[in-house]
Symmetry: C2
Subunit: 332 residues, 2 copies
């Protein structure tokens, strides 16, 4: 009659959205479990009109489920997921823990669902910034082959969880009242500011967030020849990531062909009517499933390059929705 | 004993900053005039510890000055400046009116001061986004020759004047109180949002702001072979523009040479120590003269390309300071 489904990290921003989307999309569920850390044990989360009790996330609890959607810290994923997987539960993990593991498929269902065939009970959900970029670019890549991507991100605070949202709102209010701001989640005030630093710094002074966009693109598209130049920036936006992208292809195309391709592309919605001031904006993407694409412009100098502006709800398609779509493919 | 200097548009954000900088930099002034539209006539503006009376901006009034710094609407510049110039006053105009006029030098004093030699009493101040980009890139261009620039901007609202600043602050407050936002300056709410639309739309669905970055780069660097791919975005930042840039050069270089070059470059301050979380941010650039450069990274795939993050106070180096620096060159 249905599957036993667990959400691990059910009290977080992404975990709650997972429960919401599982309900909305009428996934056939016989049992739903909500797991979180010990401190949330006994609290309740919403699942449709039901309230479900939060249990402690441990191996024996989680392995009651057929499928477990993980949205917890990388370290806890690394510890719990292999043990749960060994007991036969299939895990869709939203953290960075397994994304580059050669035994773990990294999947955007619109792009590489066939990679699911080889899973060994753990499947990784890509990074939010990578998902929306590739949902927009892959339809073009399939026709004209991507050669190079320049991407600058404008990332909302919600990717960093509830505390980050509260810090943006509270520090904004403090600023408006002329009070001092003492950030704890971000290294600097995020109110009316930009922080060009997401996740830790790695080789070549790139951040991990930037490196993820490079490596995940190569893994998902099965093409490590694509040159990706990313700069990732945290902006004072509550929800919804935006990206300014220059994409360069091997083969020639017309702008009309680009529109036609994107208008037919799964998961993509084109909003691009400059005369009517229509273009994607993060303020209007909350709770929506699509990756919004606009400001399409042929490059002024490179005939095989195009400038694009891509906006999507990072909590939804960038995290919870993509995980549920992977689940849908698995139970199809 | 000094020059007669006029600030035209003296009650605006840039006009007031011009007066402040003229005072700070001890420009030799015998008479200072503040001009604005009729509706500000009789009000007062600060000049050091003095209060100066605002007079109506008309040709006979302004032409009392030896030099006039214009920061008014493009239409009024177009009407007034040629008439004032004909009477012998030298105009440094901050609007878009004359920037691409072949008879008008477009000058960033650190880059092309020699272009001032050919002025015909009107000199144009470049667009804020262009100024900070080129102050950062020109020192590298001189050594390795720029071939291509990808730039995504994160522009503060102050570039659009006092009303825009008020709209950001008021709409942010309204949002926090759960009230509706009715924007009048911007086409959409700017609080917690990004608007990928600055100035009007032009050919190829580029905005004028984007086209300015292309054409002004070519004119200032005297090189129209440089491929510029811009996307300009308004962000909920009060003051200070930021830019994520990928710059590609003709010749090879090392990252060490880039640092050495930028550290010696006029008007540039390098803030780039990821381990110590040091990078430029708009929150900290207000009232500062420098163009701040950081997040320097060799491109992961293109040996002659570099990723850079550039932040500057758009009202200061992006407008008022650059105009006063042009004046300094003229009276040197």
């Amino acid at each position: 009659m249905g599957y036993k489904i667990a959400v691990v990290g059910a009290t977080g921003v992404v975990g709650q959205e997972m429960l919401k989307i599982l309900w909305e999309r009428k996934i056939p569920i016989s049992e739903i479990y909500a797991f979180a850390s010990e401190k949330s044990e006994g609290t309740h989360v919403n699942f449709g009109e039901e309230k479900i009790k939060v249990e402690k996330a441990d191996v024996s609890n989680i392995s009651k489920a057929d499928f477990a959607l993980f949205s917890i810290g990388e370290d806890i994923s690394l510890e719990l997921a292999p043990k749960v997987a060994q007991k036969g539960t299939i895990i869709i993990d939203n953290s960075n823990a397994f994304r580059m593991d050669p035994n773990v498929p990294l999947v955007i269902p619109e792009i590489n669902p066939e990679d699911l065939n080889n899973h060994k009970n753990i499947i990784a959900n890509p990074n939010c910034s990578t998902i929306q970029m590739l949902v927009a670019l892959n339809p073009l890549h399939k026709k004209w082959k991507l050669k190079r991507i320049f991407v600058a991100t404008y990332q909302s605070v919600s990717g960093k969880g509830k505390d980050a949202i509260n810090e943006l709102l509270q520090s904004t209010e403090a600023y408006l009242k002329g009070q001092d701001i003492s950030p704890t989640v971000f290294p600097y005030p995020i109110a009316f500011n930009l922080i060009p630093h997401i996740d830790s710094f790695e080789e070549g002074n790139y951040t991990r967030e930037e490196i993820k966009m490079v490596r995940e693109t190569h893994k998902i598209l099965h093409d490590s020849s694509i040159k990706v130049s990313p700069t990732c920036v945290r902006a004072p936006i509550i929800r919804g990531h935006s990206e300014a992208i220059l994409a360069e292809f091997e083969r020639e195309f017309t702008l009309k062909e680009v529109y036609e391709t994107l208008e037919k592309a799964p998961g993509v919605k084109v909003i691009d009517n400059p005369k009517e001031k229509k273009y994607p904006m993060p303020f209007y993407c909350n709770g929506k499933d699509d990756v919004f694409v606009g400001r399409l412009r042929e490059d002024l100098f490179e005939p095989k390059a195009i400038n694009i502006w891509v906006v999507s709800d990072n909590i939804r398609k960038g995290a919870a929705l993509n995980a549920v779509q992977i689940l849908e493919r698995l139970i199809m």
